[in-house]
């Protein structure tokens, strides 16, 4: 069965698999600093399945949010209305993130390299960029101050690159003990979850190594979609297929979300059809919530 056929045959999309794989890695007692897009989807899926008490913190200041639909922005009304408390943004970054209260931070970006450094700033030179991306937002400090970070992003040869154009968020730098040498005391990106596989850093070199393939995904597919000579763990695990419950919970959440976001459109405006992910780096697999440019904030 060819890769394409495998994916076509599977009763779930690779983006769904990515969200489910990420959700499974979260624990009921985790305190997550959640970005919009794939992280928000994964965290809320975890909350609606195996981790009902998980604490979701959004950088807008909402602590313990339990949204019924996914927020489009980091500060949708749904978040504040369902949160245990909402604090100011300076307090959020000082007491909650920098204060070391977060067990898992989520990151994504336009480019990730083999030491899990992330670029969400520019493609091309900083001063004369080919593509000006939204920027770091909370990411530079999420990368350094959460006890560990999980990277969730769709995998392509253009996004998984040998060396990022710009280090917005420091992962393992040049590898080895580079974090320690900078005085960073947290574990850093301990997991990378893509739509194809799960990667973890080698304990010593800190280079990302594939530790599990998602169902139907081949080594070749991963190699093809990675911009450096990617290594595979031995033995190599296989991600279990999504359960019926996971899939239906995920799809219900997305349906509610898409319905909610289409409501309340400006009176008198004639909106275009829902925009396609036409950004050069956007695969647009999950409409509205999968734009990689929007993931970190």
């Amino acid at each position: 069965m060819s890769d394409v056929a495998a994916e076509r045959a599977a009763p779930w999309s690779s983006a769904e698999m990515m969200a489910i794989a990420a959700a499974r890695l979260l624990r009921n007692d985790d305190v997550c600093f959640v970005g919009i897009g794939a992280p928000s989807l994964a965290c809320n899926l975890a909350r609606l399945t195996h981790a009902p008490d998980i604490t979701l913190i959004y950088e807008s200041g909402t602590v313990g949010a339990r949204p019924d639909v996914l927020p489009l922005s980091i500060g949708d009304p749904e978040l504040c209305e369902t949160a245990r408390t909402t604090v100011s943004v300076p307090e959020m970054f000082a007491y909650w993130l920098q204060g070391g209260r977060i067990s898992v931070g989520f990151l994504g970006g336009a480019q990730l390299d083999r030491f899990a450094n992330i670029n969400s700033s520019v493609i091309g030179p900083y001063d004369t960029p080919k593509v000006r991306l939204p920027g770091g937002g909370g990411a530079p400090e999420i990368a350094a101050l959460c006890r560990q970070t999980y990277v969730v992003m769709a995998q392509t040869r253009r996004s998984f690159v040998k060396r990022v154009d710009f280090v917005t968020s420091f992962g393992f730098g040049e590898g080895g003990d580079h974090r320690q040498r900078l005085g960073i005391t947290t574990a850093g990106p301990t997991l990378v979850i893509t739509d194809l596989c799960v990667m973890r850093p080698d304990p010593t070199t800190k280079e990302l190594v594939v530790t599990a393939l998602h169902p139907g995904v081949t080594r070749e597919q991963v190699i093809e979609n990675t911009g450096w000579p990617i290594r595979f763990a031995d033995p190599l695990d296989k991600t279990s297929s999504p359960t019926t419950d996971e899939l239906s919970t995920l799809r219900d959440l997305q349906r509610r979300t898409n319905e909610a976001h289409a409501r309340g459109l400006a009176r008198g405006q004639t909106p275009r059809a829902q925009p396609e992910g036409s950004d050069p780096l956007d695969r647009g697999q999950i409409p509205q919530v999968s734009d990689p440019l929007a993931r970190t904030t």
């Binding site: 909402t62 504040c80 970054f93």
Partner: protein, 277 residues
Amino acid sequence: MTEFLSLHDAIAAYVPDASTVALEGFTHLIPFAAGHEIVRQRKRDLTLVRMTPDLIYDQLIGMGCARKLVFSWGGNPGVGSLHRLRDAVEHAWPRPLEIEEHSHAAMAAAYAAGAAGLPCAILRGYAGSDLVAHNTNIRSVECPFTGETLAAVPALRPDVAIVHAQRADRAGNVLIEGITGVQKEVVLAARSAIVTVEEIVPDLRAPSPNSTVLPHWTITAVALAPGGARPSYAHGYYPRDNAFYIAWDSISRDRDQFTRWMREHVLESSTSVEAVA
């Protein structure tokens, strides 16, 4: 004492060309009506400060009001790029835009330092990030107790802060509820502060002794602007217009279409766009 002004008069009086202006509101309570008034008054050479430029700065930048942008995340949340911001940075359209780029943590701390009368903020920030090399306003200090190196950024002290709030009382005291972002900080950090409000009421109806209330003597001018945060939202008043945020992606992608939209909905609107949008 707080002046009660029309939005037109408040912007005319306190937002001169070439001033440093911070319209704040973290997703919530973004002062769109005030931003549109700045566009209508054709302000020029502004230094725009804001953590998340959002659609309102996309509009100001696209209309050529800005010389410089100080920011930490410049996207359309959950949707993608701010096309006017990108066009300005990538192609200098309609004019070149200087940028000073920070992280959220640093900008939030810089506003807090401004409110606190400090010259700088310190934080565990920017560790290993290339942002340091591209922004001379990111420096460091050594902790005099542990010897650790901490990042330092200068306090933000805009000439004028503009925020939107739920309500003011007749003395000019202002209540902000819900996601309060950096609004208190920017008002206290700025040399003058304009607050647009949903309502002016006899009693603020603060639900708690600890509610976020800005006393009238911290505010320069209050302007009534019901719906003044649309398509952003006002907790307790109206929801976020997420569909408009999604629609903005296509409205703003093309220069001509953007300009047409701005002419129709902002420039030629006697009131601001939130009345129609």
